[in-house]
């Protein structure tokens, strides 16, 4: 029987509240990557939350494996990126094969001047273990084998019925984050529709342990000689484990295909030699693209696979879920602390529903390319792959998965459109792009300085006299934001209340298309809220109000 490598299990503890009730501001249902991200984020923001999980282990088997740069940046803000990037496998090169030849290869090697790489591969159980370590370090915990057996929402909160090996109790929470996965029982308790598309195809996942000289690259085959008429995907994970996805077609018998006597010859044919390997996991899956109509249902907030499900091509499941947590937690913490009005949470729907649609669209298009739905669609697919060998334009059409990029919240109610002209991609709603900086003589990164604060990022003038004027003005400004001032290298400016960054390589000003006087207002999830060419205290104040859920009311309203 296949086994997974790391199978940490955790001690269930008998809850003190058996037969009674636990009152908490926030309950998190599900301790997968999304639930753990929410738990860490809320703990960092001083919100007490209980995490309930029906199991007592990290995830088993081969699930999420690719974490995109933005996810690594979010994990960094949460304080657990280091073990992920150290343990994980960095890769940049992807190769696409068609039949017996290389169609083309791409290089994700990012431009210099970023802290994190484009992608890191790591088994989901390692990610969860790293996040659990971090959660414990911030005085959080998970209540293992605490299964949510029912949910009764009302106007002021939610009462959860919780079942444990020793009996039942209730959790009364002001807010519930439901991140209990694709089969979400919470969705059922609330009677919510789960609409979308099921794809008529089956895939075999095999995790294989082998040592040897395979390059650390993503390899994708269309119609290879060793697996005719189907696709195969090879990814490297940590600990010399390789993940191989074989497309099987809809008619395959899942139970039969899982048998080692079927799986081993497939892998042997793919490897093309007799090197030793060991199967560590086998499963057969179908996939679907679905989502809830809305993610905010009164006091219950859905996140991750419980809210939306995508096909695996493009690594948009876990990455999308972590971005849900990133988007949701600062808003929820602000509301719980009374710093913001509840309408702020509506913006979670307004921002993350379109993000889910973007992920579903991308993964559906990948699926249509990988699994053509008609004979003519296959003719075009093969024509693209044939042309890709010689013609660069066709390589852009090859779709073996459009790898996860963070969503830009273009139509968010939290932002006003740009009034000034900017030539950078950092539009309101875009996540802040990283850049190397020097602060107090030490090299660092912009995103580390931003952290989880609302930040006014001000680009100072270049002459020392004006820098001093700028500093004095910013220091007098009374607003609940972290003020970060960017100067040219060696400006030598300093102030007790203001963080002064030197733009060592000029990349910061370049990436933000900044000129002296440019101000970016950044949200606590590091997305751009607004930007101006010139200091305008009134405009900044209005933008800050929007981030507190105080939407502008027309002047004539009664």
């Amino acid at each position: 029987m296949p086994r997974t490598h790391a199978q940490a299990s955790f001690a269930y503890q008998r809850p003190a509240e058996l037969g009674g009730e636990l009152r908490v501001p926030v309950a998190i249902v599900g301790a997968g990557p999304v639930g753990l991200a929410c738990a860490i984020d809320l703990a960092l923001q001083g919100v007490r939350a209980v995490v309930l999980d029906d199991n007592d282990t990290v995830s088993t088997g081969s699930r999420a494996i690719c974490y995109a740069k933005r996810t690594l940046e979010v994990l960094d803000r949460l304080g657990c990126a280091e073990s992920v990037t150290q343990r994980g496998v960095r890769w940049n090169v992807g190769k696409v094969f068609h039949r017996d030849r290389l169609a083309y290869q791409f290089d994700l090697l990012p431009e210099g001047g970023h802290k994190h790489p484009a992608f890191v591969n790591l088994q989901q159980y390692h990610l969860e273990a790293a996040m659990l370590d971090r959660l414990l370090a911030v005085d959080g915990s998970v209540r293992w084998k605490n299964r949510v057996a029912g949910a009764m929402p009302d106007a002021d909160g939610v009462t959860l019925a919780v079942a444990t090996p020793d009996g039942d109790y209730k959790v009364r929470a002001d807010w519930v984050i439901a991140c209990d996965g694709a089969r979400s029982p919470m969705r059922d308790y609330l009677g919510l529709d789960w609409k979308g598309q099921v794809f008529r195809d089956r895939f075999l996942i095999a995790d294989v342990h082998m040592s040897g000289e395979f390059p650390t690259e993503r390899w994708f085959w269309f119609d290879p000689p060793f697996h005719p008429h189907q696709s195969v995907l090879l990814h490297r994970q940590a600990d010399d484990v390789w993940r191989i996805d074989f497309q099987l077609g809809w008619d395959a018998d899942p139970d039969r295909e899982k048998q080692p006597e079927r799986v081993v010859p497939r892998i042997r044919a793919m490897l093309g030699d007799d090197r030793p390997f060991e199967l560590t996991w086998v499963s057969v899956y179908t996939f679907q693209c679905r989502r809830l109509d809305r993610f905010v249902h009164g006091r219950v907030l859905f996140a991750g696979d419980a809210a939306h499900q995508v096909s695996p091509f493009g690594a948009r499941g876990a990455n999308g879920g972590i971005q849900d947590a990133d988007n949701l937690c600062w808003k929820l913490a602000s509301v719980v602390h009374g710093e913001a009005l509840p309408p702020l949470l509506d913006s979670y729907d307004a921002e993350r529903v379109p993000a889910a649609d973007e992920n579903i669209l991308n993964s559906t298009r990948s699926t249509d390319f990988i699994t053509p739905k008609s004979p003519m669609s296959r003719v075009f697919r093969d024509a693209v792959l044939d042309l890709a060998v010689r013609h660069p334009f066709a390589r852009r059409l090859v779709n073996s998965g459009r790898l996860s990029l963070p969503s830009i919240y273009r139509d968010s109610p939290l932002h006003a459109p740009d009034l000034d002209a900017f030539a950078s991609v950092m539009v309101p709603g875009a996540p802040a792009v990283d850049a190397p900086v020097v602060m107090a003589g030490a090299s660092g990164w912009l995103l580390d300085v931003l952290g989880g604060a609302t930040v006014a990022l001000y680009f100072a003038a270049s002459d020392p006299g004006s820098v001093r004027v700028d500093i004095d003005r910013l220091a007098r400004w009374k607003a609940d934001v972290r003020i970060v001032m960017v100067t040219k290298p060696g400006a030598g400016a300093a102030h007790a209340d203001i963080r002064v960054l030197e733009d060592v390589d000029g990349l910061l000003a370049q990436r933000y298309d900044a000129t002296p006087g440019t101000l970016y207002l950044l949200r606590r999830d590091q997305h751009v809220a607004a930007r101006w060419r010139r200091w305008d205290a009134e405009a900044v104040t209005r933008a800050l109000h929007r981030l507190q859920g105080r939407m502008e009311v027309p002047a004539h309203a009664a």
């Binding site: 003519m376 003719v379 075009f380 093969d382 024509a383 693209v384 044939d386 042309l387 013609h391 334009f393 066709a394 059409l397």
Partner: protein, 63 residues
């Protein structure tokens, strides 16, 4: 309309013969592959998505 539908090929008969000749000796599957490659090459040459959508709609009309 972004798509040119008036006469635009100076030697239409030469083009038409070249198109038919390109298929000479191919079975149906290879002819279909040639057409697909041709569509992709020409679509990239046009580049303008709006014009391409117009062409798709016109081609689909009546089918």
């Amino acid at each position: 309309m972004r798509l040119e539908t008036g006469p635009n090929i100076p030697a239409p008969d030469d083009f038409y013969q070249a198109l038919i000749d390109a298929h000479a000796g191919l079975d149906d599957a290879r002819s279909a592959a040639l057409n697909a490659r041709l569509v992709l090459l020409l679509a990239n040459h046009v580049g303008d998505l709006e014009a391409l959508r117009e062409a798709l709609a016109l081609a689909r009309d009546g089918l």
